[in-house]
Subunit: 243 residues, 6 copies
């Protein structure tokens, strides 16, 4: 297969520059500004001493997520969801994905009867906002849990692994890693892959935008995603090591 | 791997009994009651001579879907979404999936400036309502398009392939095909796979409910899905052949 | 008065073919598909061990109803109320009528602190959906109450009579029984009559669509309704006798 | 039948004191404060030079109504519907009734492509608010139409008759006219009757609150309603004669 | 500065005719129809034995307000907020202002754990509805508190002062008191001033509609407002003295 | 008057450190992150070639504003307004204030038939978010207008002056400038003052939280506000001079 040049000039298996800035705001127990290139998402983790009704008295906690986009995070202004009177289908789909993904790295018994809410607000969008939100949200979650462990003197660490996510897709016939907006709006297949640091899959969501994708294309995409997640987990570790 | 017995007694690669009843109601251009075992979904296809605002004057049509569940389709009564004042996140996620999947088998230029809406209403739920909706919705869509071709004397058939969907999952450590409710509520991994009749993938949505799934498990699940979709496409053909 | 021929060829005092199919779905305590000709309504009765706030601690129960129409139950597709963000005036009016009507056959002290919700969803509409819903809903209610009496070993039967409903109207100057859609959209007066099996009136709702109706016309309509309800009560009894 | 004394001391066929005050506010084309005893409803009629979408280009107009209750029109404060986020079922039912009733006295071709909206707002409630609204709304409608005829030099008067409404019911076993709140909350049967000045029925809505009502009771109620409407039409005429 | 003639012929420091009619409706504990010229607002005060969640168990009460406008209180009909599905920004802004203003005259400990809700509904609008609502609302509040003191035998009077409000503005270059609609829609600066009977300011809300206002203009406006509030407090006292 | 020490150690007439960072995000025509101490608000200005319905064909434009707070901008997490289903009263009040204030510096004829929307989203809150939003929003507006002037070759600059805003209040008896959260939650009077660079007042909104404020206190507050706005206008100029 010949190599297609990407709009950004990246190699087909190359992530955008990744930045993870902790303590971006001061009130939240965890607050991370994550950048995947020009995509920037503010992820805050908030601890509350309550559980949803269906968990009352069960001795375990919950992790949930909400997602939003500032109206002018995008090329043209989008209507504010609060002004429209509710969250749209895309927003709900994304925040459900973030919540499910991050629950996969938490021992909810060890957390105790508490809710941690991840608010992922897109400051600037350039493709891959949901994967950036999961990757940055994980770091905010760890910060919040560390805060909680100190404050409450928890015996066990509720965090049982690391979670990161990346998109892969087929752009002009070639599998590529970490699609930016220019690629995303012109690709045939788009897949979001959430994995843990043990190489296990948490979520795989692939969509054929143009032609259906073949089994061998899927294999190539999954291999790219594994490489990308490895690098993202390393970036998370580096950020968390800064103390 | 030892064989685990499924609650229904089915083999691990066995679909539930599939039934596709066309012309279930008489007003819609396509109307199909599809059954995947005890899961029954009424799929109607309605043609309207309008397009959404962003397609006006472009000479092409649109396929969209809405999904609903009757309040007592489930074991315990669920609140009616119309009474709650809006569709929830799960509903939106499912109807977006159905719409995207069925658009993949339509040549929208050949359709012309028309909308076909698939209404998929769950009469009885026992797991796999979204895959049943896609599989039955395809048949309703074909009936509606045939109706349209006769009425409007279209030159080209807008249908360019067949689409079917099935769930697969890892139940008690074993990959199984077409999860029913008993399996779905007790499985580790749940994957919905939408394919066309050429063996291409349209959508793959896999979720680790318990432990993360390995690459070899994913391969086994995709193989099961391919087998299931083959059988579903055959059932669609048989139903459509009845005239 | 000369006899006007009805679009359906029925005699002026003739009901459409009535069918009452019990146990149409399997989760609800009562589940009935009722047909008044081409009008088909699925009525499920769901028991919950709770009461509305204003009845707490009073030792009595409640019967309530919700009504919905599948979007393509009608000739042209109607917008889904869940997608519009709420139930319209017509829906509310009808479900209030169904609830009031069915409460008239229940001893709420004998029921105890429980709610039974009748969900009446129109699968196919051809006029008279509300009267079909009441007539079928009664049978679903009886099935649910019988289920409850066995399960909870109730001493007294909370059902104190039978309830059925039919529409009557003045079509081309002639009083007729059980209007179908063709008659309903072209009649001068339309009246829905709910009665019990003792010949007592529970609800009478008459509307002059065209010219105002005279007292003698009203008398003729009420006589037709009494005849129709007699036959509907017999059909309910026959259905319930099937065991 | 022995005579039961009514809480208000009225005879069984006696209306409450009726007052119809025209030009109660100055902006509306018709503005009437109607009193049925302590029930006071402000009815304004507003003319707009537009029609609903389904009437565009048909050369005829429309009459519609909206109903509201000030939060403390009642014994205990009710939540404001604007603050709750929408109109409830009772409100919708009533405003649909008012609109249908008043359309029955209008020649919509003679009105031309205009909408007249009747806003009926209950200032103080003591039973019978919907019948007061219809009776007073008619007078506001006539004032608005007269205003329009002068302004636009219409050839034909769009008003083709008078409309009034009254409630009747069975209170402690005895048929009575024009129920007040004390009777309404303690009666067995409640019926709202809308009639025109030719003695024709426009709407009859009867509800058995306690035991079902018999045919002879219904006859007695209708006779009382006819008497009441006669007197209300006379009161409307007297008010309109004042110039 | 030369004197500009006001549309109403009033002197620049002259209020419109003020009327305060107590006991306008009979169910509310306080019920006042207040008129500032052609602006008429019905203010009712309702006592409830509950407090908002954040005050539970603190031994103090709360004063809150809701504001509404009948659809045809204005020159052209405005859409009913209950039908639109919610209160608009202007409504919320005004009712928050009324609530804050009237809380300033109440000792909430002396009130005890109760809520008093002021419903201010505009029957007819001609400018200054919010200032009329505060001025009339105060009288309704005093009536409700007096009712409560008798009924509950309170030891201390929760009312600790009087509150009144008036608008001032710069009309054609000249500071004027109590703007009516004709002035309000054609003025450069509009200021609402809420004061107590000790000459203290509770709220000052000034807006430059046209050119920005200078400090000396602001001084002139505040002086006019002080004069107007003095007269309004006198009118409140006179109304309350009537017994 | 003795000097009270402020929690922040500032002098009574001292602003917090002010920072105005332009081009904070790249899609919007104007994008400013403004900081008043720990209060940080992202203000973006978006140009659209449309006008609201009431301005169509009038040859002039419009400036509007929307305000939001990220859920964890505050000490404890607030519910997301999009998830609650609408904007609350405080949000509406603030965004109406921002829009009115910034319209005061724009010649809407010179702007032409365009809308500029200011989105003011609070990233971190520590008191004074609305005054920071107005002050930063002005800079974003100027950047957007300059962008427009270049792109469209406008003849006249639509910006006719500068606008800035600051809060003042009485904290422990002493008038102070630019309240932070610690002061805001413990002050007697809180006033937001919007002014232009000519020393004219655009908006004055003062509220007595505790005791009513006297005329001499108001004079002191206005003097502080004038000093603060002078410094803010200088900071705006410096930021805009950076090119």
């Amino acid at each position: 297969m010949q190599t297609v040049s990407r709009p950004s000039g990246r190699a087909s298996d190359q992530l955008r520059p990744i930045a993870i800035e902790r303590r971006f705001t001061r009130h939240a127990e965890g607050s991370v500004l994550v950048s995947f290139g020009d995509t920037r998402v503010l992820c805050t983790a908030s601890i509350e001493d309550r559980v949803p009704p269906w968990l009352r008295g069960k001795g375990e906690g919950w992790i949930t997520a909400e997602y939003g986009m500032l109206p002018r995070a995008t090329h043209t202004r989008m209507q504010r969801e609060a002004a429209k009177g509710g969250q749209g289908g895309r927003t709900m789909e994304i925040q459900r994905l973030i919540g499910r993904s991050l629950r996969a790295c938490v021992n909810r018994q060890a957390l105790g009867e508490r809710v941690i809410t991840l608010d992922c607000d897109v400051i600037q969008a350039d493709g891959g906002t949901r994967t950036a939100a999961i990757t940055g949200g994980y770091v905010a979650l760890v910060d919040a849990v560390n805060h909680l462990m100190k404050r409450e003197n928890l015996k066990r660490n509720p965090i049982i692994g690391a979670i990161a996510a990346v998109s892969v897709g087929i752009y002009k016939g070639q599998p590529v890693l970490d699609l930016d907006y220019a690629e995303d709006s012109d690709c045939d297949t788009d897949m979001n892959v959430v994995m843990n640091d043990g190489g296990g899959f948490i979520e795989v969501q692939g969509t054929a935008e143009g032609h259906a994708f073949r089994r061998d294309e899927m294999d190539a995409l999954l291999a790219l995603a594994e490489k990308g997640v490895d690098e993202l987990v390393a970036a998370q570790r580096a950020a968390l090591a800064e103390g």
